[in-house]
Amino acid sequence: MAGSTIDHLISVIVFLGALLVFISLFNQMIQTAILYQRHRYLATKCSDLLDNILLNPGIPADWGKNSTRTLCGFGLQDPEFTQYRLSPFSLMRLLSSSGEKVYYSRTGEWYSNVSWGIGGGYFLLQESECINYSLASKLLGINGTYGFQLAITPTVNVSIVEDKNVASYLRLNITVMGQGSPLAGASVDYLMFWMDSSEPVRNSTRTDSLGFAYLDFNGANGLPRIEVSQNKTAYMFIAKASLGGLHGIGYLSREIVTKAGNIIPFVENYGNGTVGTVLLAHKWGKNDPGPGDSQAALFFNATFYVLPDSFSPIKNVTVEGHVTYGERLDYYPLQIPTSQVGYLVVTYWTGREYGMVVMPWGIGTIGFSVVFGGDPSGQEWVVTDVRQVLVGDIAYQARLALWSLEGYGVVG
């Protein structure tokens, strides 16, 4: 009798154990299946959201270049309304999450930092003019439920560097890369804005099988002789690479900090949709001048070029003047029309030292990237979706990263 009772007891225990193992395994399987479905749902949401952002110009449609209009619908499509073509001005107004904000003590304002001197290129927009992440989330109807990050980056990367091995004249090495591979045989149109030439030099070349090309500015082959040693001259070079209808753009501007500092353009506002205001600020890099720094006047020549798709820049606004730190003239306000895209080229000098910086007027004219939104790192599950878009005629990639803000719970 005792033996059969023990049998029963053991069988009950084994059965309970089996039941627990079953519940545990089954539950795990179900959790995996539910998570899979939630992730798939998040992917669909990401795709829909990206299309919503890229296929509507927002309300009002011209919000990108008009500070006085209140944004009540978020979208980045070009107001001309052509499929995945984005507005170069709307992209400029997104509060950058890639660079640290910059404080300019003379205006007492913070500026969104899209680019701080990368290759001599600047784009700093006063924070109050920017569309922030929170407002964009609210206008997209996802505030509190999803986080996102939108990155608009060029599809074709055109990199330009000075060849330091050539000392007697300027040699520029150009590398054209597609998504992970070089663009061999790409046609490269270029513009050389040189301070000793009143008009930019325009010419073209072609990349080799490694996507590489170089240009010697040695006075031969129709190119001027340029010597940059001891900062005795300055230039800004823009190259547009094209292959099979795909266009990419890159630049290099010879920015230096002279004994009297340099000039940094800050975008103050876009006004009422006709002209924007840019401050040409006298700075010493990111800092104000130290005790040993010269506070002498810094002279400048600023020219705004309109850039049509033909890649033939048209001189639009030119100003000359000087700025002096600590006096009333520590920045110079300049007005630029918002009707067309282009770039502002600023040459500055003190004594025999010259430098040059460039600022795009419309993302795309010199191939800047924009990163907008939250930080996906540390999130439990992030989905991304990509669209190929155009900014002007330059190919860009729009990548949206989306994540749920409610942990495992994905809400609609």
Binding site: M1, A2, S4, T5, H8, L9, S11, V12, F15, L16, L19, F22, I23, F26, N27, I30, A33, I34, Q37, R38, R40, Y41, T44, K45, D48, L49, D51, N52, L55, N56, P57, I59, A61, T70, L71, C72, G73, G75, P79, F81, S134, L135, K138, L139, L140, G141, V410, V411, G412
Partner: protein, 160 residues
């Protein structure tokens, strides 16, 4: 005698109980899975319809688009777990000053007679109007109808 009591009075009912316990547990776990699956499928459909409404509105809102009527077919499944679902929308006032002069359309979808319901919100412009209508997923004419008027007002409603 004591052994017989333990065996037949306690152990046998426990074993019989376990026979029911096993499928009950499986059923309970399956219900959790099925509910979650249905809710997610409904959310996916709701989110997609909301997104479509927003895209139709923004497309028509452009100044170059003249007054007229547009029919947009919806790429959502007619059934979820063999059950049709219905949707209703309400235009809500905007309480958040950050949304400026936008309007929010709150769309609620319900799955058959089960009672599973989800809600999605769409932010639209001031010239948007919503006409009271019901979306029926298994209707052959299920769509979104949009009318743009000469004064710029855009009215949307579910068709079918």
């Amino acid at each position: 005698m004591a052994h017989i009591t333990i065996e037949y009075i306690i152990m046998v009912p426990v074993l019989i109980l376990q026979i029911f316990l096993f499928p009950l547990t499986a059923s309970l776990l399956m219900n959790v899975w099925v509910d979650s699956r249905r809710t997610l499928a409904l959310r996916e459909a709701a989110s997609h319809i909301g997104s479509t409404i927003q895209q139709v509105y923004f497309s028509l809102n452009h100044i170059t688009v003249p007054a007229g009527t547009v029919t947009q077919k919806l790429g959502v499944p007619p059934f979820i777990e063999n059950r049709p679902y219905t949707g209703n929308a309400t235009l809500k006032p905007v309480l958040d000053p950050a949304l400026n002069s936008s309007k929010v359309l709150e769309i609620t979808f319900r799955l058959g007679t089960i009672g599973t319901a989800v809600t999605t919100s769409v932010v639209l412009g001031q010239n948007f109007e919503w006409r009271e209508s019901t979306f029926v997923s298994n209707s052959t004419n299920a769509c979104i109808l949009a009318e743009k008027f000469v004064n710029g007002t855009i009215r949307l409603y579910f068709g079918g």
